[in-house]
């Protein structure tokens, strides 16, 4: 099941040229770009691991593609990687754009659990099949 989080997630995965063009757009706007990765795809897992520091003061998308290549070398095919862009013009960093650049080779998706509570209430829990396995063995 294809994870749909962030911008462009209903489109086919972006090519590197398309990712580079998005980064160029971010840099033109003066946004800082950041890479993160995660192997727990639950939608409420919003704090992903950071790949290095956020990148400030870049002039060219090649710099981000360089880090993306390094991140893929370690996590490619075995985790999700996302790229986020932050705008600090208001005096604080706010997220402007965030999209998944890489996803695991297989995405087993989520199971929905129903818990029957008192008074015929139902509590729902979405559980990602991948996260049932220990960290490092998920994908």
């Amino acid at each position: 099941m294809r994870l749909t989080q962030g911008t462009f997630s209903f489109l086919p995965d972006l090519t590197d040229a398309q990712i580079g063009a998005q980064v160029a757009y971010c840099l033109r706007n003066g946004w800082a770009v950041n890479l993160e990765f995660a192997d727990d795809p639950h939608p409420r897992n919003t704090y992903w691991e950071m790949w290095g520091q956020p990148m400030f003061d870049l002039k060219d998308p090649a710099a981000v593609m360089y880090e993306l290549a390094a991140c893929r070398k370690v996590h490619g095919g075995r985790a999700y990687i996302r790229l986020s862009a932050f705008d600090a013009t208001a005096g604080w960093e706010s997220l402007r754009l965030s999209f998944i650049t890489d996803r695991p080779a297989e995405e087993p998706g989520f199971g929905l659990e129903r818990q029957e509570a008192g008074g015929r209430n139902i509590r729902y829990t979405a559980r990602s099949y991948a996260a049932n396995k220990p960290v490092g063995e998920r994908y």
Binding site: G52, L58, K59, D60, P61, A62, A63, Y66, E67
Partner: protein
């Protein structure tokens, strides 16, 4: 798309906009004839290479990494910034920015500090030119645990694998750079163009000084010009002489003395002429010409 059968070199030259940059280099920088000549050669080579690529004659982009050797103040940093402009106009780099660093910007203080530092600088320079001043300080053979080696390895790797993304210019004294290349053959083999910056003659330094003043709306009085010519000759003999930089520093001090003189005579009105003119006293007050320390 079919390949063109013929290309128009003149049109490509005009379209590149590199001509005005070369003319500006000629006009604004005094002397440096061998440097200007080499830069013209490189520009011609790159322009022709582009046309060859358009005709499908060659697939590999040329190596553009360079080394600038010469004494301090001979214009290496200044020319590197122009080089970024030229490479940008010719379409070899995507933006015309120059990131200028020394060892301390690249090499860390503890284990694990160097790689992120070096990469951060490389990323900032990507798309443009990375200028590494006194590059030989990266290599400290006397200390085998020196973190400089780690920076060197990352640099070499990026210079090779990211040739489309950044141009590296290494700069420093000629003899030390020679030794550095001798012990780091990886750098030598990745550098295509070596440019040597000669020391300026006294006459050239005078012309540079007058240009620096004019750029800030100052000028010498005739007596001051004569005194400054003597100052240059004397300063050239002294230790730590740094060519055009010494001229710049001397003029900064002269401006300071002029301001003090005007301030002390503030009882009378000043004309624009007064505010612009550096007098002989401002030059003669220098220790270089035997004046006692103030």
């Amino acid at each position: 798309m079919p390949r063109p059968a013929a290309v128009d070199l003149e049109a490509a030259y005009q379209a590149s906009g590199v001509g005005p940059v070369l003319e500006q280099l000629d006009r604004e920088l005094v002397g440096l004839a061998p440097v200007k000549g080499r830069i013209r050669e490189i520009a011609a080579l790159l322009l022709v290479d582009k046309l060859r690529m358009d005709l499908g004659l060659r697939a590999q982009p040329p190596t553009l990494h360079m080394s600038f050797t010469g004494n301090p103040g001979t214009g290496k940093t200044t020319v590197a910034a122009r080089m970024a402009d030229i490479l940008h106009k010719l379409g070899y780099i995507r933006s015309n920015h120059l990131v200028s660093v020394t060892r301390d910007d690249l090499v860390g203080q503890y284990i694990g500090h160097t790689a992120p530092k070096t990469k951060e600088i490389l990323k900032k320079a990507m798309g443009g030119v990375l200028f590494i001043d006194e590059a030989y300080y990266l290599y400290r053979p006397e200390n085998e645990r020196d973190y400089g080696q780690e920076a060197i390895e990352i640099l070499l790797q990026v210079m090779e694998s990211r040739r489309d993304d950044l141009v590296v210019i290494l700069a420093g004294y000629a003899d030390r750079m020679d030794r550095f290349f001798g012990s780091n053959p990886g750098f030598r083999s990745r550098i295509a163009h070596h440019i040597d910056f000669p020391d300026y003659s006294a006459g050239e330094l005078m012309a540079i000084g007058e240009r620096m003043l004019a750029a800030q709306s100052y000028r010498f009085s005739p007596a001051a010009r004569e005194a400054f010519a003597r100052y240059i000759v004397a300063r050239m003999q002294q230790p730590h002489f740094a060519n055009a930089r010494s001229v710049r520093n001397a003029l900064d001090r002269a401006r300071l003395r002029q301001a003090v003189r005007l301030f002390e005579g503030r009882a009378r009105d000043l004309t624009a002429e007064d505010l612009m003119t550096i007098d002989a006293s401002e030059i003669l007050a220098s220790r270089v010409l035997g004046a006692p320390a103030a």
